[in-house]
């Protein structure tokens, strides 16, 4: 139900009404029309998290990497503590 997936913005269409702001987002090459009014900072080529046709967040790339490196980082911390 709360399924949301990340996709890449390929174009943005902004109308006069902020509530109508939308764009094309690509999910593995399949483009879909997505509401963008809740992520005003999003630019073309950004990745956004999309839920039931509306983008709810812009993916934070630095944080995305941290999750993948977390174990190494806490591993290094453990090593540091051992050395002390």
């Amino acid at each position: 139900m709360c399924l949301a997936i990340p996709g890449k913005i390929i174009s943005i269409k902004s109308g006069d009404d902020e509530f109508l702001k939308s764009g094309k987002v690509s999910f593995s090459g399949i483009a879909q029309e997505v509401g963008l009014m809740m992520v005003p900072e999003a630019k073309v080529n950004d990745y956004v998290l999309v839920h039931v046709g509306v983008a709810i967040s812009v993916v934070d790339e630095a944080e995305a990497l941290k999750t993948l490196r977390y174990l190494e980082e806490i591993g290094e911390l453990d090593e540091l503590h051992k050395d002390q």
Binding site: M1, C2, L3, A4, I5, P6, K8, D17, F19, L20, F27, S28, G35, M37, M38, V39, P40, Y47, L49, H51, V52, G53, V54, I56, S57, V59, D60, E61, E63, A64, K66, T67, L68, Y70, L71
Partner: protein, 368 residues
């Protein structure tokens, strides 16, 4: 797919599991709140790969499962009206009401349609001014902004034949209700990542403080889940209780302020009945009076009769509170299957019963 595949890396999941095995010394119960997380934990076999000391308890986070029976009955009744097109998310169609489901109504000729987005339902209303399009809106905080947006757009464009039958529920009050129960056995919580994307973390600090339990906002992919579990286990072993954010690539502490404003402009908080659990104070959303013309309850003068008793011997309430596992239910896999569900958790792919039915193969190790 970028930002998806990396978090499904088997080798990395195993490293995390290894770390969990090395960290844990005492038995701990960790509840994942969200049904999407339950689905992913069971589907990816993570529940079985965790140390025996770490038990996952599956929480009430399946909006389809907790939608009250009388609202499903309302939706079915509306769908039989000549001018009505009844739309909802796919899972909602198979959930049994007090007699039959929306899918059965459709088979009998009612105009019932599956929609991916409420914005699509709004388009349908625009195209068919002679019809009344009713969107049966269920969901948590994650879904509420898109639903609210469809109403704002309907109001702006004077699309008067679009209305909502709402069953919107809020996560923190339900968590609080579970932690208030004397017999709960929960040591730590994984908060639902996408709910936090909208609402942020603020609501969890008082919960963590009052009940002295670690709360980790966690994503849905296997690497996210094992990292969230590790973070919870580290806190438990250290004897601390804090709010942490595993899912920082999508979740900011303050959440998405615009989405929160959109929700608040359309909805107000109300008491809500959760199927199988009962009434939880301030745990639901209803349309504000300014949007009354888009409220199906008011538009079609639906009687808000007292919630019906949940049917028969289904122990969904206990499963949703994490007190019982699906296999503890005598009907599980025998008289209750996804083809012929007796209760909502067997219908939705995020219901605990369906997740176990599909993926666990009735494993003995899980039945303990």
């Amino acid at each position: 797919m970028k930002y998806l595949e990396e978090y499904r890396d088997r080798a990395l999941v195993e490293k995390y599991l290894d770390k969990i095995h090395h960290t844990v010394t005492k038995p701990w119960n960790i509840m994942e709140i969200c049904g999407g997380q339950t689905h992913s934990l069971v589907k990816n076999g993570i529940v079985e790969m965790l140390p025996h000391k770490v038990k996952m308890i599956h929480g009430p986070g399946c909006p389809v499962c907790v939608t009250p029976v009388h609202l499903i009955d309302h939706a079915i009744a509306l769908s039989h009206e000549d001018q009505v097109i009844l739309c909802s998310f796919g899972d909602m169609l198979r959930v049994p009401g007090s007699s039959g489901s929306l899918l059965e109504a459709k088979a009998q000729g009612a105009d019932v349609r599956i929609m991916y987005s409420p914005l699509d339902a709004l388009q349908l209303a625009r195209k068919h001014p002679e019809k009344e399009v009713v969107f049966f809106a269920v969901g948590f905080e994650t879904t509420a902004p898109a639903i609210a947006l469809s109403v704002i757009r309907a109001a702006h464009a004077h699309i008067e034949n679009y209305s909502l039958l709402t069953s919107h529920v809020l996560v923190p009050p339900a968590v609080k209700a579970i932690l208030e129960e004397d017999d709960h056995v929960i040591n730590a919580l994984l908060a639902a990542g996408h709910v936090c994307t909208i609402m942020g973390l603020e609501e969890y600090y008082p919960l963590s403080g009052t009940y002295q339990i670690p709360i980790v906002a966690t994503g849905f992919e296997p690497v996210d889940l094992v990292q969230g579990i590790l973070m919870a286990v580290v806190q438990l072993e250290k004897g601390i209780a804090q709010v942490e954010n595993q899912y920082a690539r999508m979740v900011q502490r303050e959440g998405n302020r615009i989405a929160q404003d959109v929700i608040n402009s359309v909805f107000q908080v109300t008491d809500q009945h959760w199927r199988g659990i009962g009434k939880i104070p301030s745990s639901g959303l209803m349309l504000r009076d300014t949007f009354a013309q888009h409220d199906a309850q008011r538009k079609f003068a639906l009687q808000s009769h007292p919630p019906l008793k949940d049917t028969g011997d289904c122990i969904a309430g206990l499963v949703l509170k994490g007190v019982k596992k699906p296999m503890d239910c005598p009907m599980f896999g025998h008289t209750c299957t996804p083809e012929n569900p007796l209760g909502a958790p067997m219908v939705s792919s995020e219901g605990a019963c369906a997740a176990y039915y599909h993926f666990s193969g009735f494993s003995e190790s899980l039945a303990e």
